[in-house]
Amino acid sequence: MVKSISKSDADIKELRAKRREEERLIKQKMKASRKINDTFEDKVFYIVINVILTLLLLVIAVPVLYILACSFSDADKVIAGNVVAWPVSFTMEGYEAIFNNGTYNVMTAFRNSIFYTAVGTILALFLTYLAAYPLARKNLPGGSKVMMLYTITMFISGGMIPGYMLITDTLNIGNTVWPLIICGAINVQNMIIARTFMSNSIPGELLEASQIDGCDDFGFFVKIVMPLSKASIAVLALYYAIAHWNNFMNALLYIQKDALQPLQIVLRAIIINNEAATQAADEFSDKAERVKQLLKYSTIVVSVVPVLIIYPFVQKHFVKGVMIGSVKG
């Protein structure tokens, strides 16, 4: 049994005060040591730069705050134009309207989008890495030719109409969940990012060592390469997820059934086409009109919130991803 050295409260306070005093002295010394005084010209320059950046901050933030504020505000105040960046007459009416079943069911669309995004991203990651690893292996016969096949598609594509004909006529999967999951599964730029990351960070010696130990290509891929590529998986997962979540053109082209529409289509109907999302019965009543306005803002917020939630977690990753993607070869 260890006897703990008990300190009286007064002693502890004394020790803390001493430590604070030491830290203050250290900070003072550091500040003094970096003292090359700024010239007047430099001081003005720094102030100007800071002002410019603050203005930019406002320009970016205020519209977003405005939308956020309007979604929580009373409809009359919003229509009168009284809201700037903070809710006026706080109310949850805009969000209650989301749960109402109407011509456009926001909840169903939200659920659909989550489904499409989740399944689509997993499929995309699966196919991308399945392609990237063999192409990252330097000596694969025919590997460079396959790579060229992929890069050509970056410059030439069939276009909208042959694509439409393929999905709706040839494959006959129009108006189902499949177009939104399958289309865009392999983005060649993303695959190049994955491939570059793999060839740069997996040393050849690792492969040789594993082969000596009797590991085959599948095993090496699953047990060693994938765990080591976690950083690039995070980046690509983010890119693919955002692409699927934000996609509206595919749904516009290939899906007509209301029950299958993703959130972006409903968003477009409500905000841009100004269509009502409430019950048809009281469509022209005053209340319906007010709710229609509020619904625009609350739906925007609801579509953006998932993105904003994931964003802080992945911010440091995608900055790295941009760097990986920009390194050639």
Binding site: F45, L56, L57, R137, L140, M160, I186, D217, Y311
Partner: protein
Amino acid sequence: MVNNSVTTANTFVETKEMRAKRRTSLRKQIFKSWQLYLMLILPVGYLLLFSYYPMYGLQIAFKDYTPNLGMVGSEWVGIQHFVNFINSQIFWDLFKNTLTISLYSLICSFPLSVVLALCLNVVRVEKFKKVVQTVTYIPHFFSVVIIVGMMFQIFNPHMGIFKHIVELFAGEGAAVPDLMGNGEAFYHTYVWSAIWQNLGFNSIIYIAALSSVDTELYESAQIDGASRFKIMLHIDIPTILPTIVIMLILRSGHILSLGYEKALLMQNDANIKYSQLISTYVYNEGLMKGFKQYSSATAINLFNSIINFICIWSVNQFSKKVGESSLW
């Protein structure tokens, strides 16, 4: 007969044995890597089906497509659709719109991203820098529907905060221009909203390039008495100049390939004259008007793709000549 390799006049002549050996070792290597090829089956199959089969469907650009006769059975009309398109009244409008918006966007957004990166590099308070970066990166992740939707709300002449800004400068009760319903304003709203959205994200690559500046240069410049502004001019900019040139080249290759999504959402009867791009025309006139137009729409799209490719290729050639790195 055994022939040894004969070196004649500095050329290496391969004997039959060596060639046979090379062939079998190639075969052996292919055999050894069977698992890798297995892995490639699915992705390459996907590529062939979804990327190359539509290219095969491009043939209807040279035919008169009807669903009865199908793609292969429809009649050939050669380049009739292309000629029709070039001679049509709308051709120059489409070109003008697409080119104007692209150039406008290039001239305005490109320098601003660089300037943002330079400004962020100047900031000494780390926290402020992080806050600005975080906030400016976010709009990049908004979907195009959200951006256009926000624009409709903000620029609404009765309700939006744009009204407040106009009243700030022009006094109470001033007439607020309806930017979204106005044809002439289309270019500006299109380009500046794109800048608002992508300014932060586009600056990432320049910020990363700026981090490779030699700090010794900063110190020696400071000792020589250079102001921070001069440092920015003479050290920061030259260091990231290669990056700037590469990005500029990449951007300018895409001059005529403007996507249709945003313009499609912003289009209305009032601004259709300015908002009809080549790509939206393909959608509106081609897909939306039924299969009779499929051929001509595909032809227009193919025409656009070919021009894009020529653009990228010539910019690439130009950059090779000038000595900078190129795409291929």
